[in-house]
Symmetry: C2
Subunit: 337 residues, 2 copies
């Protein structure tokens, strides 16, 4: 325990004294508020510079009842779901938008019960001015916590079951439909789906899009082969598909990871892509470009998702009542289909 000299930061009162003004004036000058004469304003600025004064955000937060921070909560029982580059891009977008509103970003990975409890307390105690919630499972206790905490909350993607008041989502149904229609338009008639976990809204929505397109084309949809959004699960699903439906000629994978897995399984089984089997993914992450062959996939504006969530939250915090947003997704054609 090294006892370091705790040398305190200069406070507003010291600025006050050095500049020869009252605390109110100093405060106004520092916050660029009106009702400060030019002379005093400059005196304050000089004192601030001389002292190296920086306002204490905690004290300010206590007085204004605003923390100046927004929380981004990523839920899921396995912290590694966060390793998905998807979230990194969401963060990039959200971070940029929050910065515009001069808010800081608190990142909460709510994987364990303990951390979920911490997040709940953070929200209830108004430790942040608002929160963005992502990847909520069915019955996720976080959803209830968010409701109890009386602070602005924006959902990223809709949770299963309920439709929250404020959310930003991607048009998963439309994207999946477009992908499937594309496969059909290229003459594929035996198109299967490798879908993601059907206990998530994304998983369901993308399957729904696939199904809609198949039915609309008069093709009976295959039974969905369920994966869990990971590459290995995609490979396994593809293998199962090949076993059950050897004549499959098209595959809609509910995300790129599983699409990549499917490609690997197809390669292993000696099927040519796209000649024998065409494959389409979803997400348009880096893996889609690296895959061999490069994966035709549905691009979704991930950074925009983060950005819009943050903007919606900022609007909410400032007392407005924004409307939910559904961002478009569109097909990017590459070699795999």
């Amino acid at each position: 325990m090294a006892e370091v000299a705790p040398r305190r930061q200069p406070t507003l009162d010291q600025v006050t004294e050095l500049a020869g003004v009252s605390r109110s004036v100093a405060s106004r000058a520092i916050n660029n508020a009106p009702h400060v004469s030019r002379a005093k304003r400059e005196a304050v600025e000089r004192a601030v510079r001389q002292l190296g004064y920086v306002p204490n955000p905690t004290a300010r937060a206590l007085a204004t009842r605003q923390t100046g921070a927004a929380a981004l909560v990523v839920s899921g029982e396995d912290p590694s779901i966060f390793a998905d580059p998807f979230f990194a891009q969401v963060i990039v977008g959200a971070s940029a938008a929050l910065e515009e509103a001069d808010l800081h970003l608190m990142l909460c990975l709510a994987a364990s019960d303990r951390s979920r409890k911490r997040v709940g307390e953070l929200l209830r105690s108004k430790g942040a001015d608002g929160a963005m919630l992502m990847a909520l499972r069915e019955d996720d206790p976080l959803a209830r916590m968010a409701e109890e905490a009386e602070i602005p909350v924006v959902f990223g993607g809709r949770p299963v079951g309920t439709t929250p008041r404020w959310y930003v989502d991607v048009d998963n149904v439309g994207g999946a439909r477009e992908a499937t229609e594309y496969l059909i338009s290229r003459g594929r008639t035996r198109v299967a789906a490798i879908c993601g976990r059907l206990d998530t809204e994304v998983g369901r929505a993308r399957y729904r899009g696939y199904r809609d397109a198949m039915l609309a084309a008069g093709l009976g949809p295959f039974l969905p082969q369920e994966g869990d959004f990971t590459e290995p699960s995609g490979a396994a699903a593809m293998a199962a598909l090949l076993a059950n439906h050897p004549d499959v000629d098209g595959v809609f994978a509910a995300n790129d990871n599983m699409g990549a897995g499917a490609l690997r399984a197809l390669r292993g089984a000696g099927r040519r892509v796209p000649a024998d089997v065409a494959v389409v993914g979803f997400d348009d992450l880096a893996v889609a470009q690296i895959a061999d062959p490069p994966l035709t996939t549905v691009h979704q504006p991930i950074a925009a998702l983060g950005r819009e969530m943050a903007r919606m939250l900022v609007a909410l915090i400032s007392g407005q009542d924004p409307t939910p947003l559904i961002l478009p997704a569109h097909l990017v054609t590459r070699a795999s289909a």
Copy 2:
């Protein structure tokens, strides 16, 4: 601007009143401090439950001069460097370790001058109890800011030029050496390096490891072909290499992205991997497994890097003086070499 009823949170004083104790006692009871009789402690707990009281973290922070948050700062002029899954894993590790110390994580992407300035202010104003700094370029103003802010700072990876007092790094030199030695041990004699940006310490260290191994084996090192850690730059570097040294039979790529790019360029040039040219990468990210052929690479404990940074920071915050840490990296052999 909807005027919502601002219904305030219950405060300690309300608990105090309901429980019929003094503020001191209530505070002690809530913080599990000693000097509280069993009876009063229970009375307080009851009142807390009844009121749904949650301590206000801001007020607590002001009184204790501790914010209960640690900042993770990722620097770089392009926010997209953050999209590298590398950071996501660091965050997972750091987040878990911070949680153990009951600290929240503030994530700061310092891409623009404006955001760097904000980060500087955050640190100087002690808006966080400590900070973890990553990916500092040469002359990064953040390094100076961190020094001026008198709060605990831990570096993730060493910045170019200086060796900070506290840091956690990966043994890049050792890992690169091991990778190169492996190529040499497999009979490769014309081993080239596709190195990362040489204005970063990682880039330099990995090149140094390659060079050491080559010299130790009595092989003259090739001139480094510099990339920028991206897949395309790896492909371009490989193409250049093939043009200048058509007889190259081994490649050490300073990260997996560039390794994947090299594989693509080799495939394009009709070279077989590993028969004609063996390739080794660095990082062991998902892309290494997805690559075709799967990339032999140097695994580094990324989550551990984040975890150890956070632990070191926690130690620092609690007044200890931890020693810098260098985490081991080791080769993972796959098909590419």
